[in-house]
Each structure stands twice: as structure tokens, then as C-alpha cells.
């Protein structure tokens, strides 16, 4: 293949995924833009945003890749049955890892900002926000990833090509949306904001 042919093929193949993440990213941005008061009130929250969004992509992207491989290898069936031990383990591991990474991010952000002498909300508030946001977006993303990967596979799509755009798009939107809900919920419980 010539350089031109390679470039045209790569461009065509990548454009739909980038288009999907563009839409998801703009929607997430719209929610974030509406959170200015929350970002001002909870100091250090903005520092957490990239880590929380990336965790969604890293954890649930890898869950999707694992399910795709499992389907290709015949290890799991493309039907949701609560008794499937492998599916349950993969989903539980993703959820647990996602929450551990969110708590780790909150602790790291708090420690670094306090060390630098920068203003930061209390560790309890940040951990509370990370837990609620991680739990809500985790449950939603497990459901979305399992449903779409299984349905796509049954209809003859390659699940590998579905996972990337799916997780980046829904991960961004739900990630920011549940972050907003988590901030408001923790403010309701702990007071303030």
C-alpha cells in the first residue's frame, strides 16, 4: 500500500469513533460548564476530573475488551444470566477496581494539594464524592457495556470495534453527570455548598 492509501484507510476507519467521542465529550462539557458553582465550592474537585473520567475509560474499556475476548474464545455466552460465574466475576472486579481507583484519586489529589498549600475541600467530602460517583457510573457502565457488547455480538458486529467508542462516549457523559449528582448528594448529607 502507498502512504496515501494507508492514510485514507486509517482516516476512514477512525472517523466514526472520533465523531462519537466528540458528541459525548461536548455533552460532558455542557454538564461540566453547568457545574461552575460546585467547582468553586468544592476546592480540588477540578483536579479530580481527569482522573475520574480516565478511570471510567481504563476500567470499563478493559471490561469490554475482556468480554469481547471471552466471546471470541467461547468462554462466555452472549446472554445475561445471573448465574454466569465468569461474567459476574468480570463485572464485580471492574466495579471494585473502579471504586478503588476513584478513592485513590481523591486521596492523592487531597494529599498533593494540601502539601502544596493549595486550598482543598475536606478529605471526607472528596472521598464521599468519589465513592458515590464511582458507584453510580460503575453500575451504569457495567450495564451499558455488557448489554451493547452482547447485543452487538449476537447481531454479528465485532465487539472489539464497539467497545472503544462506546466506553469513551458513555463514560464521559455518565462520568460527569454522576459527578454532579455525587457533589450535590454529599453536600446534602455533609452540609455546605
Amino acid at each position: 500500500m502507498t502512504v496515501r492509501e494507508v492514510a485514507v484507510e486509517a482516516y476512514r476507519e477512525a472517523l466514526p469513533a472520533l465523531g462519537a467521542s466528540l458528541v459525548g465529550g461536548l455533552l460532558a462539557g455542557l454538564v461540566l460548564g453547568g457545574m461552575r458553582a460546585d467547582l468553586r465550592a468544592v476546592e480540588g474537585l477540578l483536579v479530580l476530573v481527569p482522573a475520574l473520567l480516565a478511570t471510567r475509560g481504563n476500567v470499563y474499556g478493559s471490561l469490554g475488551a475482556r468480554l469481547a475476548t471471552g466471546l471470541h474464545q467461547g468462554l462466555i455466552e452472549p446472554h445475561v444470566r445471573t448465574g454466569d460465574r465468569r461474567l459476574r466475576a468480570a463485572a464485580a472486579a471492574a466495579l471494585a477496581n473502579g471504586i478503588v481507583a476513584s478513592l485513590f484519586a481523591a486521596t492523592a489529589a487531597f494529599t498533593i494539594l494540601s502539601t502544596l498549600g493549595a486550598p482543598v475541600a475536606s478529605l471526607g467530602r472528596l472521598l464521599g464524592i468519589a465513592t458515590v460517583a464511582g458507584l453510580l457510573s460503575g453500575i451504569t457502565l457495567v450495564a451499558v457495556v455488557v448489554t451493547v457488547v452482547f447485543a452487538g455480538y449476537r447481531r454479528g458486529y465485532n465487539p472489539d470495534t464497539l467497545v472503544g467508542p462506546l466506553v469513551t462516549t458513555t463514560g464521559d457523559v455518565f462520568g460527569v453527570l454522576f459527578l454532579l449528582i455525587a457533589v450535590r448528594f454529599v453536600a446534602f448529607v455533609l452540609g455546605g455548598v
Binding site: 455542557l30 461540566l32 481527569p50
Partner: protein, 187 residues
């Protein structure tokens, strides 16, 4: 080597890398924190943040996936005149040139629809296009370097390159957004 399908085995295989990547992302959060007051003053710039991070990571992961596949097929050589390398590099820059104008205008349009915009659409467009195009060039450099390192250290590029590149591009996206804001937005 495949990981067994148990919570313990999956966690042991993925959690260490996940925590390391989380720390890297906290680094990009600290960069965001440095220009938080500008972002809070201009909502269209705040809208740009998730979409820039998402598009940046995607550009890198698409390129990394394609180079990894070419590497497995044995069609990739690390010479500057290699067709696969050159073609994919050009495609990455062309994708950035197509997507980032929409990113900028989309961010400005959404802020205009939902409230106030203190910045002109051209400023937001300039910020998004400058950060996007410079990001595409750096994404190519990072991806080729990471794929080459995986090849030299005999690691599977699928396991290593994609997470490293995606998260590095996330951070670079935020850093370049910061630099573009300094360049175009009156503080």
C-alpha cells in the same frame, strides 16, 4: 498469558497499572487547577476540557491500535520512509484537523445556547485548533516511541502501548489546552 476470570486474578493483573495511570491523570488535573480561575470565568473553555481530553486520548489509542496490529503482522519497520508509519501519522494529523474545529465551535455554540459567552467564537476556535494540531503531532511521536519501546523490550504492544498512549495523550491534551489558552485568551 491470559488472566483467569476471577475477581482476584483480574484485580491483580489490572489494579497496579490502573493506580499508576490514575496518578498520571492527577498530574493533568493539577495543570487544570493552575488555570481554574480562567476556566471558571469563561464557560466555553470549561466545556472544551472533557472533549479535548476525550479526543486526545482517542487519537492516540486509534493510532496505537493500528501500529500494534501492523507490528503483530510484521508489516511495520521503524524507518521514517515506512508506508504504514507515514500513512498513519498523516491520518492522525488529518483527523485532528477535521475534528478540532468542530470541538471549538461546538463548545462555543453550546455555551452560547445555555448562557453567556465572553469570548468570541474565533478565540475558542483558535484555542481548540492550536491545541488539537500540536497534540496530533505529539501523539504521533509518543505512540511511535511507545511502540518502539515495546518492541525493544519484547512486550506485547496491545497490553502496554494503548493504556500508556491514551493516558499520556490525556495529559498532553490538558497541557496544550493550557498553553493555547495562555496564547489566545486575555487574562
Amino acid at each position: 498469558m491470559t488472566t483467569a476470570w476471577t475477581v482476584r486474578a483480574i484485580t491483580r493483573a489490572s489494579l497496579p497499572v490502573l493506580l499508576l495511570l490514575t496518578l498520571v491523570e492527577i498530574g493533568s488535573g493539577l495543570v487544570l487547577g493552575r488555570f481554574e480561575s480562567i476556566l471558571l470565568r469563561y464557560p466555553s473553555l470549561l466545556v472544551l476540557v472533557p472533549v479535548t481530553i476525550g479526543t486526545a486520548g482517542n487519537l492516540g489509542s486509534v493510532l496505537a491500535a493500528r501500529l500494534s496490529t501492523a507490528f503483530h503482522l510484521g508489516t511495520l519497520s521503524f524507518a521514517p520512509d515506512d508506508e504504514t508509519l507515514a500513512g498513519n501519522a498523516i491520518a492522525t494529523v488529518a483527523l485532528a484537523a477535521s475534528i478540532f474545529p468542530l470541538v471549538g465551535l461546538g463548545a462555543w455554540g453550546l455555551s452560547a445556547l445555555t448562557g453567556s459567552t465572553a469570548l468570541s467564537p474565533w478565540t475558542v476556535l483558535a484555542v481548540s485548533l492550536t491545541s488539537g494540531l500540536s497534540l496530533a503531532v505529539l501523539a504521533v511521536v509518543v505512540t511511535v516511541a511507545a511502540t518502539y519501546a515495546a518492541y525493544r523490550f519484547e512486550l506485547d504492544p496491545d497490553d502496554v502501548v494503548i493504556p500508556v498512549v491514551t493516558n499520556t495523550c490525556d495529559v498532553l491534551g490538558v497541557v496544550l489546552l493550557y498553553l493555547s489558552v495562555l496564547l489566545f485568551v486575555p487574562v
